[in-house]
Every structure is written in C-alpha cells, then in structure tokens.
Symmetry: C2
Subunit: 356 residues, 2 copies
C-alpha cells in the first residue's frame, strides 16, 4: 500500500502522443494550478489561452510561454483551431454550455469543471451537444485520480470496512476571506446556479462517496439558511444534507462557504473505517482503522497541482487511447440532478425522491 500509494493504476501502457489544450477562463485556479499541473504532466501541453480580452490573453500567454492568447469571441469563431486538441473549461458554472457547444462544433475533446453547469437543464444540453458531436467529455472530478481516494476505493472493494453503515462528509471554507468581494460570481445565482455551498463544496463529498461506494442517491433531505447579506442571492450559506444512497445507506454532508476551512470524508463500516481528513482542498490524508489497528497514510508531495496533473494525464490517457472516461458528462449530470433535489428538499422542507 505505501510502496504503490501514488501508482497510476488507470494508466495505459505505451501511450503515444500528447494532447494540446486550449484553457478557457483564466482565473486563479487555471493560472496557478492548471498551468503548472500541465507543465508537470506526461501527456498534456498548453498551447492556447482563452480570456475576455486580447490584452489579458496575450499577456498571460507570453508570461507562461504559451503559443497563443485569444478572446472568448475568437474562440467561438474558431481561432487557433489547429493549435489545440482539447478544451479545458474553467469558467463560472453558467458559461460552461456555450464553450462546450463551440468545442462540439469544432470537434474538440472537453474537460469541463464541476459542477457541469448552473442547472440540470443546461447540463442536459451540454451533455447532448457532446454526445451528438461524439466528442470525449469529462467532468473535472479530480478526486477520482487522487491517490488516497483510489487506494480507499481498492480497500472498500477488498472488503476492508465490511458493509458500510454511515457516510459523513464536510466541506467548508470562508469564501469572503479567500475572495473579499460580495459581488463574486459564486454568490450570484444567475451564474452559480442553485446555490453556492452545495454546488461548489458539497459536491465533493457527494461525488467522492458515490465514486468510492458505487452507490447512487435515491432520496435527498436538506436544511439551508443564508442569514448574512452577502448570501442574499443564494439559499445555502449553511447547508446540512442527508442523502439516502442505494442499499439504504445514509450520507450526511455539512457544507458552508462561510466557515473555517475544513474537509473530511468518513466511511464507517461493520468491520472498519476509512477516512480522508483533510480530504478535498489539495490535501488528502488517508486514515484507516480496523479493530484496534489504525494507520495514517499521505503523500507529502501532493497539492492541488499534483491532483490536477493526475486528472489531466488521466483525461489525455483516455482520449489518446480512445477509452471510456469514468467521470463523463452523464456522471456529472447525475450529481447536478442530486443537487437540484437537495435544493428542492430544503425549499419544500421534505424528502425528495431521486430513484426515478
């Protein structure tokens, strides 16, 4: 376990070639995390940067030794189309659809940030656009290729925890301290979608638990509140969610954009526990317990950059070898349906069925 902790069990032998990326949306995540991640990667390179103005795109391209910097409009018009193979979409949620539609027209593979879009309807259009053009589409759930998560999944499959009995996840951060602007897009329902905490943070424990346990939610209950003025436009400054996963397994999730940063995912079973704490913000430490034996494992090198490197190389590996992508568009769409149900449950103050 320790000797192969960071092993790329997903990697195809003798992969040839590389994927050239156009990065759309040049916020801090793209520039400070994605660009260095691609520099570290085995199968990816950044060839085009896409932003709001020619000045910004060209300046950032120049500073980062990237071939081209173009505007959003130029991207939609097919500029530099011969210079990239795939598009990474790191814009605010409600703008994902437009870029995926263009990428589909241009027949480019797409790696799209989570949540897939602002609403279920727009995410459905997004997935349909990719399906119709037959382009590869991945939802950017980097926890799927985080080593601690992959080792946790193997342990669960090997029966380490026995039957799971409870799942708990927390994801909280102080967004107004991190980005001191009450008008930021994550607090604007037109751009973020259903809300801010579950869409941006709660989605981590919800998707990671679903990936680890291979169980989908069948019902949602939730309570939300937004007492502070900066959160007037979103219902979930604070949220507490209880999902019922297949097999009647409860997944409780607490989340807030207005609290101390803290991330945790705990899976309790009849025979053992598996816990990630911290779990989601570029650090993942794996805590194992079975009977009276405990172990803690982490890779000291890993940060968000290494997590994104693994995600990009996984995406490139799938595209170059024409293999199926696990967190594809349909996978990301399912989480958006769950999040819509969570908001509906909180709004109506009742359990919402997700079993169809």
């Amino acid at each position: 376990m320790i000797t192969r902790f960071t092993e790329r069990d997903w990697e195809t032998d003798e992969t040839d070639g590389s994927i050239r990326f156009a990065l759309v949306g040049l916020g801090w995540w793209t520039m400070d995390v994605v660009v260095p991640a691609i520099e570290q990667s085995d199968y990816c390179e950044t060839t085009v940067l896409v932003s709001s103005s020619t000045e910004k795109a060209e300046r950032l391209a120049d500073e980062n030794n990237v071939e081209s910097g173009i505007t959003y409009d130029e991207f939609h018009d097919g500029a530099a189309v011969e210079k990239y193979d795939a598009v990474y979409i790191g814009t605010p949620n409600a703008y994902h659809l437009d870029y995926v539609e263009t990428a589909a027209d241009l027949e480019k593979a797409v790696l799209c940030e989570k949540p897939l879009e602002a609403t279920v309807e727009r995410a459905e259009q997004l997935v349909e656009a990719a399906d119709e053009a037959d382009i590869p589409l991945m939802t950017a759930y980097r926890m799927h290729t985080e080593p601690a998560v992959r080792r946790a999944k193997e342990l669960i499959e090997d029966g380490f925890i026995g039957e799971p009995t409870h799942v708990y996840g927390n994801n909280t951060q102080p967004i107004l301290e991190m980005i001191p602007d009450p008008d930021q897009w994550r607090l604007d329902s037109d751009v973020t979608g259903y809300g801010t905490s579950v869409m941006d943070l709660g989605i981590y424990p919800i998707n990671t638990a679903r990936f680890l346990l291979e169980r989908d939610p069948i019902a949602a209950e939730a309570r939300m509140s937004s007492p502070d003025e900066a959160f007037d436009d979103v219902p979930d400054q604070y949220a507490t969610v209880t999902l019922t996963l297949e097999g009647d397994l409860p997944l409780v999730c607490t989340t807030s954009q207005h609290a101390q940063q803290d991330t945790q995912l705990k899976i309790i079973g009849t025979e053992g526990t598996i816990e990630l704490q911290p779990a989601f913000h570029g650090e993942a430490t794996l805590h194992l317990a079975r009977g009276s034996t405990r172990a803690t494992i982490e890779d000291a090198e890993y940060t968000a950059v290494e997590e994104m490197r693994e995600e990009f190389d996984y995406f490139a590996d799938r595209v170059l070898n024409d293999n199926a992508i696990l967190p594809d568009g349909h996978h990301g769409l399912a989480d958006l349906r769950t999040i819509e149900a969570i908001h509906e449950a909180a709004d109506r103050d009742e359990r919402v069925d997700l079993s169809e």
Copy 2:
C-alpha cells in the same frame, strides 16, 4: 493551554474529608474502571460493593480490599448503611430508579450512570425521589470533567471558533464483538429502554455538544434501522440523527452498536474548528484549527480510568463543599426527553418539536 491542559479548574480549594462509596452493579465497567479510578482519586474511597449474590459481592470485596460486600436485597434493607456516604449506580438502565429510591430513603448522595433510566417516566420518578429527599444527584457524564472537553469549552467561550455553524458527532462500536452474547441487556428493550445505539452511544455527542455549546435541542429528526436478528428488539442497530439546537444550529449524529469503533465530535465555526477525535471511549484528542493554523493536543496518560477519577473527584468536591452539580438529575432527564423524541421522530418519520 498545554501547561494547564489537565488542570482541575472545577476544584474547590482546601476541600476536607472524603466520600465513602457503595458501588451498585459490579460489571466490567465498575470493576475494571471505577474501582481503580476511585483508588487513584483524592476524595473518594470504596467501602461497599453491592451485587446479586453474597458470594459474588464478598469475593469481589475481598479481592479488592473493600470493607463490605452485600446483596441488592441487603442494600435495599439498609445493610452497611453507616459504612458509605454515597452510592454509585452502574446497573443496567431500567434498574437505576429502584436504587435511587433506596438511596433517597437512606439519605445518601447518588452518582448515577447515563442514561439516567430506561424511559422519561422512570427518569422523572428518579429525579423526583432525589429532589424530595434533598440528596445530591449527579448523572455520570464523564466528558464534563474530561480535560480535552473542558479546554474545548473554554476556547469556545473565548470565541475561538466564532459563531458555530455545524456540529457532527459519531459514536460507533461492535457490541457483539465486545460482548459476544445476543441476549445481553443492551439489546433488550425492557432493560435498555428506547433502544441501544442512541441510548448508549449517541448520548455522548448529544450531551457533550450540549455541554460545550450551552444550547439545548429544540427539534429532532432521525432515521433508524435494525436489519440483523440480534437487534430485533431495538429499533436502532444503525441511527442517523439531526437535532436542531437553539439558534438554529444543526447537530448531526451517526451511531451504531454494530460497526467499527470510532468516536468523533466536530464543531465547525465561522472562525475556527474544534474537534475531538477520538472523543468518547477513554481517549480524547483535541484538534484545533483557525485560519491556516492547526494544533493537536492530548494527554498521553488519560484512559477511561483517569476520566472516571476526575468524575468521582468532581462529584466528591461538590458534595463535600455543598456546591451545585452541573450534570445533575434534571440535566440527565433532559437528554432522555431528547432521546425519546429522536425515537419518536424515527418511528413517525417526521420532525419532532422539543421546544415545549
């Protein structure tokens, strides 16, 4: 904080005398934890052991250098009454009332294990008996004098976490591995009361959060299931509870008597987090975070014996100095009302109001 981690901030200066105890119910907790705890204590001694048979009581008294061993019947008849000042009740839940009534008749102070009784009605009678006889009555919540919990309470009062936003607690253990007997009293509703997991385990995070935050529950929601035959007589082999504490603060609690041992209490706030993990089974490690600073503090000596030593000395300190006891009978009764509401909420599948 580190230099005074185990400080007895509750201790009265220059306390004279000591309290002689009759211990009622000689199971493993009493013999392996309480007897050595009293031996380590400053203000307590064990003078009488009370059990089902003369043979068992006298043998255990002899083995542990305790003055007298008497039967339950002899205790009720006032045997050895001049040899003890207070009674510790460590019997199964549904037998607490009888012993408290006798202690009240004999005008002895009482330290009674949690939960206070098997039902709200019996706990009310128990508290009334103590009140009418004007004897000191303490519910044996040892977390109230656990150093990590007391330091956590001071930090919360000092504003370390800001405003609390979410509370999560877990308490799970594999009771059938610890006591391999499907007929044990904790699985018998006549003796345990409303159920097994919330009554015996969930009560820890529920009471400790209430103590730390000084907020009472105003509503309860819960889901429970008992799929295995050994749990046929109790509804909560597995339970997930959401309480609303005063100030609309959610407290989520997961608990099971049929899972890997794991205990945790996490309090998230706008400015920091305070977490105990492990929390409840004789180990308490305090994890603090505020901004990007983290600290972990524990006392390497502490086990359940040291926790019980502190509890007994606290009780003796209060009784000898005629001071008010914090976790008194009314305090313990309130938790039983909460647990009754939790079971009612699970049974009716709806939110139960606790605000009166």
